[in-house]
Structures are given as C-alpha cells and as structure tokens.
Symmetry: C2
Subunit: 301 residues, 2 copies
C-alpha cells in the first residue's frame, strides 16, 4: 500500500489532502458528547470541554500530580525529565504506568470513552505525560502537526489518533496556552528534509525538522485563524493528531501543567517508521501490542 | 534633596511607596478625557483608548511607518536598529525627528494633549521610537518599570512621565501584546545591584539589572493580576512611567508594530543619573533643554 502521507522527502514542501475521516463514526444519542460537539471536533480539529470534572476531582488530580513531581527520584530514569541544573521535574512520561490514579484517568470514560467514540474503535495509549512548565522562564514550542512526527518517526499509518489534555492549572493566552489553527487538520503538510539520527533527543526541546515552512504557516493562519486553548484547571482539550499547534513562551509568574494522553485506534497500530531509520523509544511511542483500554467509570474525589 | 527613589544599591530589594501623584491635576470638563478615564489611569496606571483615530488616519500612519522602515538607510545610523544578519529595520528612534507626519503625531492633541493633562504641565518627548517585531521569532521582553531605568540611568527625578503607544498592527495576547500589572505603579521596587558600564547596549536586548525579583513579581501579579494590552491597529495605550510591564515572545505569523512616545513634564527635566556613571545617549533620553511641545490639531487622512 502506498504511503498516504509522505513526508521528510527531498521534494519541496507540499500540501496533501487528508484522506482519513476526523470523526470515524456517525453520531447517535448513545455518544458521550453532543452532536454539536462532534461536529465542532470534525470542523475545527479540537474541542474544549469544561465542567466534566468536579472541583474535588480537579483538586485530587492536581495534588496527585504535585506528589508525583515531588517524588521524581522514585520513577524510572528515562520516564522523567528534570530541569537542567536542578532536580525540578518538568515531564513524567508513561503517566498511566506510574500511579493508580493516573491509570484510572487514562481509562476515564470522559477521556478514553470520548476518544473511542471519535476514533470509532477501541483505543490504547500511544504516549502520555505529565507536563509542568514553570513561570517566568517557560520556553516556546514551535508549530507542528503531531501526526507528522508520529507517522515519520513512529510508523503510525493513518490519522486515527487524538490527544487529550486535562489542564491542572489555569491556562491563558499570556501564560503560554496551547494555540491551535482550527481546520488545519484537514491538510497534511508534507515537509522537506530528512530525519536526523536520534532526532527525538533534540526535537523534544526544539523541533526543527518536520515543521511547516513560515509561508505555509502564514497561509494556514490566514485561512483558519489561531485559537487559544484557554480555560481553568479541570478543562479538557481534545485535539486531532493532525491539527497544527504550538505555544508561546511565558514570562508570567504562573506555571502551566497538564496531564496529557494520546489515544490511538487499535486498528491503527504502529509499523516501521515512514521516514526515520529506527523507532523512537517506548516512552515516546508505545511499541507493544495494542491492548484495548478498559474504561473506568469512577470519580476521583 | 534626598533621592525619593533610590535603586541599584547594595541593599536587598525593597518596596518604596510612591510619593508622586499619578494624575497631576483635578479633572474638569475641559479635560481631553472623561472623568472615568482619568480615574482609571490613576487606579490602574494605564488606559486603553479606542476609536480616537479614524480608519483613514490609521491607514496613513501604517503606510508611513512602512515607508520609513523600508528607507532605513536614509536615516542617521544610531537612530536605526536592524535585525542582526539582515537589513530589516526593527526600531527607529527619535521618530518625531525623522518625518513630518510622525512629528505631527508626537504633537497630536490625542497623545500630547492627554499627556499634558495627566502630567499637569507642558510636556516634551523624552524618548520615541517606531517598533516593529516580526512574526514567528519575536522575543520576549522581561518585566520592568521604565521609571526605574529612566531614574537610574537618565536622571529623571520624579514620576511625572508617561508612555503613549499607538498600535500600527492588531495586538493580541498570543502575538506578544504588552502585559501590564494594573496598580503596580503605586509602589517603587528599589532594585539591588549596580549599573554596568554602557548597560543600554545589552539592556535594549535583554534587561538584567533593575528588574524586580521573581518573588516581587509574583506578589505584584497576585495582588494586581496581569492585563493584556489587546486591540486593533489604531488603539492608543497610555501608561504611567512606573507601571510594571513586559511582553512574551511571539511564534504566530503576525508581526507587532507601534509608534511609541514617552512624554515627560518640562518641570521634571533630567539631572545627573541617579545610579549610573554617565548618561545614556541622546536617542534614548532627550538631554537637551526641554522645549514644550506645541499641540497639533489636524488629522492624518
């Protein structure tokens, strides 16, 4: 089967029409979101859901996240990224494997259940992490499509995955909230260039390869505008794997934190990388046999 | 007379109560702004004024600014700052001296007239510039009080100056709009440290000395919050010389540009620097005899 989304080739950048659906099944009254919400996700490539989690649940999750960060030494080495020159934990990968509450969150019907509906399949966790960006010195993260990397470097064949980000702090445009280009998920920007060896070691800090050109980004922004993923702690953002997004730096005193889960359809299991010499490590891309998640129905308070 | 606002001393940082008024005369019906606006400026340390300029005037000013930037070679060397590695003009200082339209803008009743009212005195231009920050790569500018620098390095004795920024592009929180801490102008943060030789050569890129500590900034943000100076091209921002402000970087494709004038009361003329061995050059701090501006009543369309 020909690669539907060739990228990181010697040819000049080009735009390729998306051949995959965004919402993989018809809406019915049994769906975990409203018809309008499903249509918004299809049109914009993202969805903001407020008030799904009670204040008590948000408090419990925020506290647990802080405890995990404080106890970073207890976690496996490659799962934890600390601030250079200090022991401050910035990222904890494989979040659902670190802690029972986070395991329940990964399987929560409000995350995994909605992902299952939108992707029209059983789902598993492709990547997950707890993110913490401090105030004053938060660095920007440049525009990219996650799918471009997952396809090129992880061998994800089709656009049948999405990200769920549960905010654990208030996010505002001026403290570096995620920015998304609504509608950009309907085109695949095939990038020029070649994946360097061990690209993930630098791309997690600053992605250079696999990002659209300034001209493409300016065109996409002009066509679609830029939306700010603002909301109080407890807000859930869902976004399609191909939605172009990025975030600005943050000089405000307010940190940003979220629990982040990438759900992939079990039928969309990873192959050999489409544009890299070897797979990224397991903490970045779940290389095991996809095991369908069992939904968790409980609460966190 | 003792220095009312000592700063850049060996002593630890401390907060000093402002001894100067913010609005230097009582409001009357002859004032160029409403009573509510004057009260807002007094309380918040800034004021947003929309629709003072017609779309035709904004267009004329935007076009003139672009022409000045395109013709940077024609301007005096030290007045122009170009992007390292290119001829792209980023800043043009002494803006009112470069061009007749900009001279009129500096004297416009909607800028200088309001400044004259708020400062309760004749005014002159202490510093002015055309700012242009490109998209994609706009750098952050860290929190500071302008007065702290003008006092320490330019010898401005009292808090009787303000800045007027006329937006020449749309400014939004996510493209690096100015952020201000409303109410922060009522306290002077006396900073620890010493002004290095020729500090302005690096401080225009990144201010290190004379900025409040993270602890002070976090306290001020908690007390006062952070306001985003958002608005379409043509919006006028006025802010007190001591209001703490800064701006985030900007990865969006949208540049930011403004025409920027600092008005000082003629009675507040510069002395020897309060905390530096010599004055900054004239393009950063007007060292001549303060000449009261004659207001300009015309329009730009």
């Amino acid at each position: 089967e020909a690669d539907a989304y060739p990228t990181r080739t010697p040819e000049p950048e080009r735009w390729i029409e998306r051949v995959d659906p965004v919402v993989w099944q018809d809406w019915t009254e049994k769906a975990p979101i409203s018809q309008a919400e499903a249509e918004r996700f299809d049109r914009d490539g993202f969805l903001v859901l407020k008030d799904l989690f009670s204040p008590e649940e948000v408090r419990a999750l925020v506290d647990r996240a802080a405890a995990l960060r404080a106890d970073g030494d207890a976690l496996a080495g490659e799962d934890v990224v600390t601030e250079p020159g200090s022991n401050e934990v910035r990222t904890i990968f494989r979040l659902e494997a670190q802690d029972e509450m986070m395991s329940k969150l990964a399987r929560d019907r409000r995350l995994a259940g909605i992902a299952r509906f939108l992707l029209g399949d059983e789902v598993y966790v492709h990547q997950s992490r707890l993110n913490y960006k401090p105030g004053f010195t938060g660095k920007e993260f440049y525009w990219h499509s996650d799918f471009e990397t997952w396809h090129a470097e992880d061998g994800m064949p089709r656009m049948r995955a999405l990200s769920a980000s549960l905010l654990l702090t208030d996010n505002r445009a001026h403290n570096g909230a995620l920015m998304l280009m609504p509608g950009s998920h309907k085109v695949f920007v095939s990038c020029q260039g070649e994946t360097p060896e061990d690209n993930h070691k630098s791309s997690l800090q600053k992605q250079e390869i696999g990002t659209p050109s300034p001209e493409s980004l300016a065109d996409l922004a002009k066509m679609h505008g830029i939306a700010d993923a603002e909301g109080p702690a407890g807000t859930l953002f869902l976004f399609d794997c191909n939605t172009i997004h990025g975030s600005n730096g943050n000089i405000t005193p307010d940190p940003r934190s979220n629990a982040f889960f990438v759900y992939n359809a079990v039928s969309n299991r990873l192959q050999a990388p489409f544009a890299a010499s070897k797979n990224r490590p397991d903490f970045l891309a779940n290389l095991g046999d996809p095991e369908p998640l069992e939904l968790h129905e409980g609460r966190f308070d």
